[in-house]
């Protein structure tokens, strides 16, 4: 039996203490990381509950239920931050990244406790792949939230549409990484390639982030 809430407490405790001690941007950054971990834990509970309700096995749930739950949950801290604090654009982008990092970190810890730590190469590919996928999804939501919509009505509809897009991206990624061999490699490399394409070709031309 894998008690993920125990892993969560062990990981979250030092981060929580640091949040209490720090002030300013450091505190904010760690709060984002902690919220990412927390929504990862909650997503696991919700996905398991929905999978049980729908009567599907965990593999099917990983590409039919979890992506929607995880992406919606992951966007909540960011939406809360944007709506309540009305921060500047740079902070929102950084926040989206840090929530994604917290989420991916806790997800990887759960994976390690379930499947062991013996295969370094596999874990390395998985670590980079999952991390990149969560970062890509977080970035897409944050960038669209800040740059694409200028009116509230468009922002609501547009954010929902972007959420739909990242859920599908996440689901396709999960299908690929659930396979063995070359398909797993390809699936893990796709988000890394997206990040590389963004860094090399798009960032300098668009000049957003």
């Amino acid at each position: 039996m894998n008690y993920i809430e125990n892993s969560y407490i062990c990981l979250a405790a030092p981060v929580l203490l640091a949040i209490l001690c720090l002030r300013g941007p450091g505190r904010r950054s760690l709060a984002f990381v902690l919220s990412g971990m927390t929504v990862c834990l909650l997503s696991a509970y919700i996905s398991t509950f929905l999978a049980g309700s729908a009567g599907v096995d965990l593999t099917t749930a990983s590409y039919e239920i979890s992506p929607a739950v995880e992406e919606i949950m992951k966007s909540l801290p960011l939406l809360f931050y944007v709506l309540v604090f009305e921060p500047d654009r740079g902070t929102v982008i950084a926040g989206a990244l840090l929530v994604a990092v917290g989420f991916a970190t806790f997800e990887n810890v759960c994976f390690l406790t379930s499947y062991g730590t013996s295969d370094l190469l596999h874990l390395m590919i998985r670590g980079f792949g999952t991390g990149a996928m969560h970062v890509v999804c977080g970035m897409i939501i944050a960038v669209s939230l800040l740059y694409l919509w200028d009116r509230l009505r468009l922002r609501i509809a547009g954010t929902f549409a972007v959420l739909c897009l990242v859920v599908t991206f996440h689901a396709v990624f999960n299908i690929f990484v659930n396979q063995a061999g070359i398909v797993f490699w390809i699936g893990s490399l796709i988000p890394l390639i997206v990040i590389l394409v963004y860094l090399i070709f798009i960032r300098s031309r668009v000049g957003m982030i």
């Binding site: 599907v56 590409y63 509809a157 929902f160 549409a161 739909c164 599908t168 299908i175 659930n178 396979q179």
Partner: protein, 205 residues
């Protein structure tokens, strides 16, 4: 087998369309082209999802939430694209003809609900009704929306092809090319190509 080939063909076309839209979005710093990229990209991801489910698990998704979400996203991006390339004037709301769109979508929704799920059909009907209303409003008001005539026409055609596709899927008979479902799907694939000049015309004029 035919479904996989048809899906693969649509994916190739959408990949090319997404690439062109992304290039134009970056080259022209155009928000409309970003929305076009998101429209093609969202549909593309939905298609990839169906194809990899068929390839790796030998079946279409048991719960079609994810693929439905990608198509909802596409319709919203298409509506935002039309909205963004020129905001609708309040005068266009005086016309009654555009209301035919939502009425048609509602009527079809009643039929589809008898064949399938309630919630997803209601969402599809709402989004289709919105798209048809917006496209018909622009079609009627030719003078005001001169640059959007091609795009509005493409959206109308796209919606009708979608309805043809859905209706054909309700009367599924054979998994061969004689099934009208594949004809509509092929025409839908072709329609994506014509969106590019339509969007270009809406942006440049």
């Amino acid at each position: 087998m035919i479904e996989s080939i048809e899906n693969a063909l649509q994916i190739i076309v959408l990949l090319i369309c997404s690439g062109i839209a992304l290039y134009r979005a970056i080259a022209n710093h155009s928000q409309t082209w970003v929305l076009a990229f998101l429209f093609f990209g969202s549909w593309l991801l939905g298609d990839i999802y169906w194809l990899v489910c068929l390839l790796f698990y030998g079946q279409t998704p048991q719960i079609s939430i994810v693929s439905d979400l990608s198509w909802y996203g596409s319709y919203i991006f298409l509506y935002l694209l039309l909205y963004h390339s020129s905001a609708p004037d309040k005068d266009s709301r005086k016309h009654r003809l555009p209301w035919l769109g939502p009425v048609f979508a509602a009527g079809m929704a009643v039929f589809f609900i008898t064949q399938g799920e309630l919630l997803s059909n209601l969402i599809y009907a709402s989004l289709m009704g919105l798209l048809l209303f917006a496209a018909l409003s622009r079609k009627i008001d030719r003078k005001r929306y001169q640059n959007q005539q091609f795009l509005s026409g493409m959206i109308l055609l796209f919606c009708l092809l979608e309805y043809g596709l859905w209706t054909a899927s309700c009367f599924w008979k054979t998994d061969t090319l004689s099934n009208p479902y594949y004809w509509f799907d092929f025409l839908l694939t072709v329609s994506f190509v014509f969106f590019l000049p339509a969007i270009k015309k809406a942006v440049t004029e």
